[in-house]
């Protein structure tokens, strides 16, 4: 799902908006459907990242301690999920 939605997200918010090709008043974010979409878009790929990154670091034999690393990766994903929820709800 991230495979379909992330590229256009980067194009709009990483290029079009900063370079002034389009303008955005931010009104759209008040809509709860948009908030739901954004929550799914931001929070879910983080778990995918946590899993892949944790395994990749282990594969690279960097000798990092496993349990703290797992806590950092998966825990990090949980923390950001909560933050995302908080930001979206306070808009």
């Amino acid at each position: 799902m991230a495979a379909f939605l992330v590229p256009i997200q980067i194009i709009i918010f990483g290029f079009a908006l900063p370079l002034g090709w389009i303008s955005d008043s931010g009104m759209l974010y008040r809509n709860w459907l948009v908030k739901l979409y954004l929550f799914v878009l931001i929070a879910l790929p983080l778990y995918h990242w946590a899993h892949r990154f944790y395994f990749a670091l282990n594969d690279m034999k960097l000798g990092l301690p496993r349990k703290p690393l797992a806590a950092l990766c998966y825990g990090g994903a949980v923390v950001v999920t909560v933050v995302t929820l908080w930001v979206l709800l306070s808009l």
Binding site: A3, V6, P7, P18, L28, N31, M60, V87, S90, L91
Partner: protein, 137 residues
Amino acid sequence: MSGTRPDPSKLYYREVPATWWLKKKSYFFFMLRELSSVFIAIFLLVYLYQIYQLTQGPEAYVAFSRRLSSPGWILFNLIALLFALYHSITWFQSSAIVLPLRVGERELPRNLFVALNVIALVVISLIILVLFLRLKG
């Protein structure tokens, strides 16, 4: 039939070097594929921060978006976009192997499956773009 096991004290165990993934092209691209998730995650964090600026008022939101136009950030977003696209293509390739589509008796050839997904990616992206432009206000 019982087999005898070799004497473990005489066996030679070869260690896998930490650079194993640099030794073969396919291993390198595998690692690249896995690390693409890092760039996507960082982009999403930056984007989250961008949305957060809205809670500080619409001017903060616009101001932060302007900051993202600096060459450093543009370069980052370009790299993130390339990695995101690489992630998408490799994801479609993986899906072709995991969930083969059957048309009647035969399996859909993998390249066709990937091509169809790429088309879907373009179509969905355009839909989101149009929706965003018309609804943003």
